[in-house]
Symmetry: C2
Subunit: 328 residues, 2 copies
């Protein structure tokens, strides 16, 4: 089978591609070809035994999608997006890429016609929800995003459900928790500190914690995110019904619980590298974010996390990203 990955140069995209190449199959079907698309060239995977094609173009360009669909990929993983902070800072760019780009893709799929009916896995976000929240956000809670990014994701969810209902494609939207521990360097995302306070101390670096220890948030590891994508790409979608967008399982943890887990896994020295420096702006942003979910539908449909506790998240990070080592 031929798989198309949109947004392949991003962190989750890279990890997904690594997994696809390592597995060699998706579900019970052998992968014969993978196309990696992004606005910057995705890295050519080393030692790939499957033909991998790298395509670079602007996802927001109405003409970008058709050539990608010409070979009729059976599964499309759509991870292309600009992030929350950038969509808020640049209103036009956010709508152009996160909304118009997706709509062009859907229209291009529909335009192929002739029985083409690919599985489309869309990475949505818990940013489709906006405060005030119940203690746990359930599967029937409304989407009232408080960011333009969340608005764009919520709109794409509606479009994918309608295009699926009309028979143009077979869509599944998965709302990823915040990915933790996110590898790489600290960035300017307001949510960055949830990963920084784990990743940086493990690397012997200081990390800044801008919120209080009682802030709760909803996390999943990169390993879980890839697992959700694979499952969404292979599951029997008949069982989903018309509500095609699902909040993914995760772990609710307070910052204090994150830090306690870090201490259990690594010791006091590592934890001492976290510097508390309250930032009222970030505290204000984070106050509007989802904290906890009940994800019964996703669990019933077979989505599972790769971790049971936050300790597991830290251990998986040490194994997957640090070769089993950290700076004690």
């Amino acid at each position: 089978m031929h798989i198309l990955v949109l947004g392949a140069a991003g962190m989750v995209g890279r990890k997904l591609v690594d997994r696809l190449l390592a597995d060699g199959h998706l579900g019970d079907r052998q992968i014969t070809r993978i196309t990696l698309h992004d606005v910057v060239a995705a890295a050519q995977p080393l030692d790939a035994t499957i033909p991998v094609e790298i395509v670079t173009s602007d996802f927001a360009d109405a003409a970008s999608a058709a050539p990608l669909l010409a070979p009729r990929p059976q599964v499309i993983f759509h991870l292309a997006a600009i992030v929350s902070g950038e969509a808020e800072a640049d209103f036009d760019k956010g709508y152009r890429i996160n909304l118009d780009g997706t709509r062009h893709l859907l229209e291009a799929i529909r335009a192929v016609g002739d029985g083409y009916h690919p599985r489309l896995v869309f990475t949505s976000s818990i940013a489709v929800f906006g405060a005030p929240f119940p203690e746990k956000i359930g599967d029937e809670f409304l989407s009232t995003p408080l960011t333009s990014y969340g608005t764009q994701k919520a709109i794409c969810e509606l479009l994918i459900a309608d295009y699926t209902r009309r028979g143009f494609l077979d869509g599944v939207g998965i709302r990823l928790p915040t990915i933790c521990v996110r590898p790489g360097r600290p960035n300017k995302a307001a949510s960055g500190f949830f990963s920084d306070i784990i990743r940086e101390p493990l690397a012997g670096q200081e990390a800044v914690l801008p919120v209080s220890d009682d802030v709760m948030h909803w996390h999943a590891s990169p390993r879980s995110a890839v697992g959700f994508l694979i499952h969404a790409g292979t599951m029997d979608t008949k069982a989903i019904g018309p509500r095609r967008n699902l909040s993914m399982p995760g772990l609710a943890a307070t910052v204090g619980e994150q830090i306690a887990a870090l201490e259990r896994v690594t010791g006091k020295n590592v934890v001492a590298r976290i510097r508390r420096e309250p930032d009222p702006v970030i505290m204000g942003i984070v106050a509007g974010w989802p904290r906890n979910f009940s994800t019964d539908r996703a669990r019933q449909l077979g989505f599972t996390t790769a971790e049971k506790t936050f300790d597991d998240i830290i251990r998986n990070h040490i194994d997957d990203e640090l070769g089993g080592n950290f700076v004690a």
Copy 2:
């Protein structure tokens, strides 16, 4: 103040304009000018003491909105849409008018800049909800439409909330119940029979009832719909917060309760003009529709219906549309 009505040639639009002209003011502000826009020319109101301008253009055309906004209307009533059945039959036309048209409008408002910040009242629909439902749909129930029309309305709701949050306009979306009794002739809308079984017998005509008597639905009179629009155009929006889209109050009634009310108000002869002719297609469509709501937010924000019982709805129709008379 200057008021712009989009979709002014439709039934609700005409009734809104009649009310605005009769009142001469909106809230505590005198109306100095009204612009009526539609794809077909709205009728020039007779005896209007306020200047009324009629503009005809295609709402889906990106160039349509700017000229309408040039005189900077302070309140815009946006009722322009193609209806549910047509949006389902013609996928492209539905998205072009109901989604792209609204987006062009929002962008054109934003493009005016220079402190322009109009109140935008958007007529959404209970079609944003899709089965399965709880017994009553509450203010925090998710939007999972089962029609392209409902999808387009739900997307416009999200856009209006985001454009409001970003400070480009002051939007309020109101989800109208099914309007009953809808004046005019029977049409092909699947929901038409809810009005047909009242309006046609009152006019001495036979009406076909295609569903069973226990089918429950959510109704409001044309008088209530106009009242909702006026309130949305005048209310203090600070009290709403970021959740700018509200399910409007209405009356839940079964078809059997509608018929019993008709008999109470008019007698057995009128009711005898209803012919039961079950239609499995219409029964299937109606089974996916919302039946009942709790509309606490809208009520707390001052939205009220013009009727307490279905008997009131019938009496209002006889008064407003039939000059107080019916065929006994």
